[in-house]
């Protein structure tokens, strides 16, 4: 079973639409960290957010917002009023003692924002 699931392989939206990227994770630990990264066409992974398992408050940063729900093991990412520059592959990742030293990345969701 996947440890981090991003069920949406590809999403296309028209500019100014809102879009939510889903992330579901698995861990037996009570202390863990969740991350979102953006990979634009240039290839470099850009860090967006880090959230620890004890902080379930939703976070908003400009047009970006994150909804962390431990009850459903989900950490979803919403882009409001999407723009063409938001087109990228988005990765969700988990850091948990259950999985040792390293991150577990989801397979990624490719978002295309059409003008």
């Amino acid at each position: 079973a996947q440890k981090v699931t991003q069920a949406q392989t590809e999403i296309s939206v028209v500019e100014k639409e809102d879009v939510t990227l889903d992330c579901v994770y698995e861990t037996r630990d009570t202390t863990y960290y969740l991350f979102w990264y953006k990979q634009p066409p240039s290839g470099e992974l850009v860090f967006l957010i880090r959230r620890n398992s004890f902080d379930e408050q939703n976070e908003i940063s400009g047009r970006y917002s994150w909804n962390f729900q431990k009850s459903t093991s989900s950490f979803n990412f919403t882009i409001t009023a999407s723009q063409v520059v938001d087109s990228a592959v988005y990765f969700c990742a988990l850091s948990s003692p259950d999985y040792g030293q390293n991150f577990v990345f989801g397979p990624g969701t490719r978002l295309s924002v059409l003008p």
């Binding site: 290839g43 030293q101 390293n102």
Partner: protein, 112 residues
């Protein structure tokens, strides 16, 4: 502030040739260092990680190797490249295993 460099940016190599990719980090000391590979249109595969000089852990058995000759230098090598080694290679650093990983610009490798 911390920065991470990778070179070369792009590389085209024939099958059977050697490989050396370099990654260096500035502005921090004793970082954890990571090598990932991303095949075209695919997710990230962790290849190696290092928690200190000379300490390398391999996640996937293959014809690649890694070395950390200095605290902030991480090298990915191969003696003989295979076609399947083509991909996008990303280096990353973090302050510890729980901390955010920050990625370099990557190296695109094409093996012909």
């Amino acid at each position: 502030s911390q920065t991470i460099h990778q070179w070369p940016a792009t590389l085209v190599q024939p099958v059977g040739s050697p490989l050396s990719l370099e990654c260096t980090v500035e502005g921090t000391s004793n970082p954890n260092l990571y090598w990932y590979r991303q095949a075209a249109g695919r997710g990230l595969q962790l290849l190696f990680y290092s928690v200190g000089i000379g300490q390398i852990s391999s996640e996937v058995p293959q014809n690649l190797s890694a070395s950390r000759p200095q605290d902030r230098q991480f090298i990915l090598s191969s003696k003989k490249l295979l076609l399947s080694d083509s991909g996008f290679y990303l280096c990353a650093w973090s302050q510890s295993s729980k901390e955010t990983q920050y990625f370099g610009p990557g190296t695109r490798l094409l093996v012909l």
